[in-house]
Each structure stands twice: as structure tokens, then as C-alpha cells.
Amino acid sequence: MTAPKDDKPGWFDDWGNVKKLLRAFYAVCGLLFLVDFLYHRHALNEWEGFWGFYPVYGFVACVLLVLIAKQMRKVLMRDEDYYERKRDRAERGDDA
């Protein structure tokens, strides 16, 4: 579906705006990564205190999460009416 013609474009419709937002986002991410060098973090144990642990863990965890979920989809995905459709067919005597 496309937007109605007399519609005012939203702020996020302008790709330039989105790019500005993303650049600010990347800057904050960079800052957060560097912060680990600037202060002594009270670490919970040896490997958790490793600099960059949380940024790396957060990034890798989410990428892994999505990639695994995509693979799961190949096995688990069915039609929206998967459970309803089969029941209708069974009721019509179609023993499939």
C-alpha cells in the first residue's frame, strides 16, 4: 500500500533525516566502546571485566539470535491457518 497523495511526509520518510540519526547513533556507539578504557569498571569476575565485553556480547548475541531464528523458520514456518485448515479437511472426510 502506498501513502495517500495529500499526505504530509513524516520526519522519518526523509532518508536524509534517517541518515543523520544513524550517524549520531554510530557516534554514541563508538563513544560507549571507548568509555571502557577511560574508567575502572567494578567487574563481577575476570572475563566480564574484559574491555569491550558488553558491546561485543550485545552485538554478537543479537546477530546470533537473528541468524538462528532464520534457520528455525525454515523448519517451523507454516501457513497462517495451518491448524484450522487441516481440521477443515479432516472434517470433510479427507484423511490426509
Binding site: 500500500m1 502506498t2 501513502a3 495517500p4 499526505d7 504530509k8 513524516g10 522519518f12 520518510d13 544513524l22 547513533f25 554510530y26 554514541v28 556507539c29 560507549l32 566502546f33 568509555v35 571502557d36 574508567y39 569498571r41 567494578h42 567487574a43 563481577l44 569476575n45 565485553f53 558488553y54 558491546p55 561485543v56 556480547y57 550485545g58 552485538f59 554478537v60 548475541a61 543479537c62 546477530v63 539470535l65 537473528v66 541468524l67 538462528i68 531464528a69 532464520k70 528455525m72 523458520r73 523448519v75 517451523l76 514456518m77 507454516r78 501457513d79 497462517e80 491457518d81 495451518y82 491448524y83 484450522e84 487441516k86 479432516a90 484423511d95
Partner: protein, 564 residues
Amino acid sequence: MEFALPPFLPFFLGALVVAVLRGRAQAGVAILVPILGFANLWFGMPGASETLKILDFTLVLVRADELAMLFGWLFHIAAFIGLVYSSHLRDTTQQVAALAYAGSALGAVFAGDFITLFIFWELLAISSVFLIWARRTPRAIAAGFRYLLINVFSGVILLAGALVRLWETGSLEFSYIGLEAGLAGWLILLALGVKAAFPFLHNWLTDAYPEATPTGTVFLSAFTTKVAVYALARAYPGTELLIYIGGAMAMFPIFYAVIENDLRRVLAYSMINQIGFMVCGIGIGTALALNGAVSHAFNDVIFKGLLMMSMGAVLHMTGRINGSELGGLYKSMPITTVLCIVGAASISAFPLFSGFVSKSMVMQAAMDEGYPVIWLALLFASAGVFHHAGIKIPFFAFFAHDSGIRTTEPPLNMLLAMGVAAVLCIGIGSYPDVLYGLLPYEAEYHPYDWSHVITQTQLLFFSALAFVWLNLTGRYPPELPSANLDAEWLYRRLAPRVAGCAISALDRMNAALDRFGQRVKDRAIAYVEHHHGPEGYFARTWPTGSMVALVAMVLVASLAFYLA
């Protein structure tokens, strides 16, 4: 603690009154009930439990210690927000059901013995199913039946466990049980596990909650599972098995949430993930862990309610809830968008939002008690929940590609309810001491130190970075109209098929026996007919001459015998 009225009573009386009212009066009285109930709690005095003697049993109707009170406050707040949110409804069934449901939850958490708990446990299911059936679609009707069956069954197991307990110890007191209680311990844990959505017992939640009405799901998300969490905290604190069950519950739903299209089903999976943190904390069992678990339950009801309300508003205004059909709604519903983002930030545990001050207690306890793998799993789950609830929900509903849907903000009562929840999320997050003062266990915790704030912010920003990268490189899975197979396949597809095969096998056997019986019968008749029928030997007519000769021979023979 003693109260003027048992906490459940205003709600059930209110349900009766609301059943006969209509229109604004109905909505007004409904909203008044939790306010009155709150006052009832507020003016409670230190005192004994309230009991009721029936036959030989003493039912402890109201046992109010700090653990129960925390949930008591919580359920009143949740009921108030939910009833304001649904006050535009002109559907008496839903209003009555919601009040009865809240009343049942209060009855359950203040119950002092297992019989009282059982009664309210079943009332929880019976009242709430009407919120699902009220949607009136075929899917909702079917899902409601499955929901009712599974939840009532959990009550039956609870009763069985309680009776074993009575037989073994002579007591029905609702207090610590633990797995060392043998059969009773396992039965009661199983019953609680069903309502808490343990793995493999969880599908009633993901099946039924998204099928309920936009307002109904807000109530559903607040009560049943939190009653189960309360019961676990009371009866099984420190049970090590729960640590691993909780860890599993925190992990597996986040994968389903990524590939699920119905945004309220995404939130349903998200609920299981959050309950996993609570169950894990209960399993760890230290004061810090238990405080973390119950405070997270408190916060979860409010921010999950807020997220459910925002999605309910989208469904109410657009008639749609699938990520594949939504997008661009920030232009038509900017306030709802912001309120949704507040809920998303809370569930993700952003600093200054409520999730930040409760979830980390469980994680700290996991590390303190020597469960580093569990801690890593919970950290993974934290990043994951930000991904699917913190980012995916607001993004696909309100941003992403423009779906062309133009609508308006939902009615004022819905905005107000969401606003109250949002204020609470930010208030508790920024000033947690009010919540901490209500916590039942003694444990010092200070969520705001630089380490915690910075590491959590790092985790969240880099999870977001992963989302951005996956989207910009086209690796993010699109929202697709689909259903995903889960454990419910075992009883929605496999079991009916197996039963169907068994029945048709029995049918065929029956038919074969019938045919065999027929053949035996036919053969017997043929035999008789062959010998005794018109053509048969025994029906033959004999010539008269032969008969005379035969008679003569018989007479000669008998004469011979006589003379001899």
C-alpha cells in the same frame, strides 16, 4: 494484617453490580472498585489471618504478609489501569469477567491454605476465558477452549497435590513445600508450572492471549502468570531445578519472537522470557534473588501492560496486528508511539526505566551464587528481549515501511491508562526506593552505579547496532504471514492424528469382526437350509410304497423280537 473486607470481595461484589449496570455508570463503578480495594488495603491493621470454618476444615481466606501485600498492591494498580483502558467498552461480559478475574487473583495471593488457593485458581481460569471468547472469532472460541482445559487441568493437579500433602502431613497450609515433599511437591510444582508457562507447558499462553480482545489481553497479561510466580516464590524458593527452568524460559521464546508476525504473540513469547527471569530468581533463592524476582514481577505487569495496551490500541484503531501489515503509524498515532517506546525501554531495562532496577538483581544473584553460565544465558536473553520487544515491536508497528494506514490516536481513556503506566515505569525506574520499600526480603541493592549504567547502556546500544546492521545488509528476516510450530503441535496435530488413526484402526477391526460374524452366520444358515430346507434331505417326500414296505419290515422285526 487485617482488612475491613477480604481483598477479593470488593471485586466480586463489583462484578455483580456492574453486571446490572450499563453505559457510563457501568464503566464508572468498574473503575471505582480497584480504588476502593486499594483503600481497603491501605487502611489494613496489623492482625491475624482471616479464617472460615467449613465442616472439618479451616479455610484461611486472608493471610497478608509482605510477599502477599506486594502482589496485592500490584493487582489493584493493574486492575485500575486495565479498567480505565477498557472503560470505552459497552460489553458487559468483558467488564464482569475482568472484575471477577482481578478478584480471583487477589483471592489467590492472599489465600492461606491450598483449598482456598484451589478455588481461586480455578476461578482465575473460568473468569478470564470470557475475555478470550469475547472476541467472537472462530479462532478465539477454539483457543479459549484449549486455554480453559489446560488451566482447569492445572487446578485439578493442584488439588491432587494438596490432598496428597494433607494425607502426608495433615496440613493444608499454603507455605513452603519444596521438591523434598515427594509426590505432593512434584504435583504442586507441575500445577504452578502450567500457569507459569514452563517450557512445553507454555503454549496456552502464546495460543490464547493474542486471540483475546484488545482490552482483554491487557488483563490476561497481568494476573494468571503473576499468581503462579507468587505461588512459586512462596512454595519453592531455592529449588535448584527452577534456576534451569527459568534459564530455558528466558532463552527459547526470544527466537520465536524474532520470527513471529502477530505482534501480540511476540509479546506473549516475551512474557515467557520475562517470567523466566523471575523463575530463575526464585530458584536461586537468596534474599537478593527473591527480591529481584518479585520486584521484576511488579515491574513486568506494568510495562508489559503498557506494551499490550499500545498494541491493543493499534489493533483497536486499525483492525490489524500483524507486523507484515503495519508500519508508518508514528504519523497518525504519535502519542501512542511514544508511550509504546516507554514500555519498550522499560522491558529492555534502560537506565531510568523500571526494568533496570529489578532484572539486574536476579543477574547479580546468579553471579554471586556461582552460576556464571546462567548469568551468560540471562545476559543473552536481556540483549534478545531488547531486540524483539524493545526494537521490533515499536519498529514494525510504528515505523518500518509505510503501510498506508492512516488513523487517529485511540480514545482518551486508553491514552490515559497508558500514560499512567508510563509514568509508573519512569517513576519506579528513576526512584526505585518506593518499590524497594515494599520488597519482602532483606537485601541491599543499589542499581545506580556507574558500572551498571554504562555496561547496560553498552549492551543495549550494541544490540541496536546489530539490528541496524542486519537491516541495512538485508539479513533481517522479513515479517511474513505465517504460523510457527511450537510444542502445541504435539496436542493440536500429533495427538488428534494418533487418536484418529487409533479410532480408524478400531473401526476397521470392528468392521472385520462384523464381516467375520456375518460369514459364520451365513454359513450356519446355509448348512441348516441345505439339509432341512425344501431341497434338503430331511424334507424329501418318500414314495408310499416304500413307506408301506418300511412299516411292514418294522412290524416283522418287532414280531420276531417278541417271539424270540
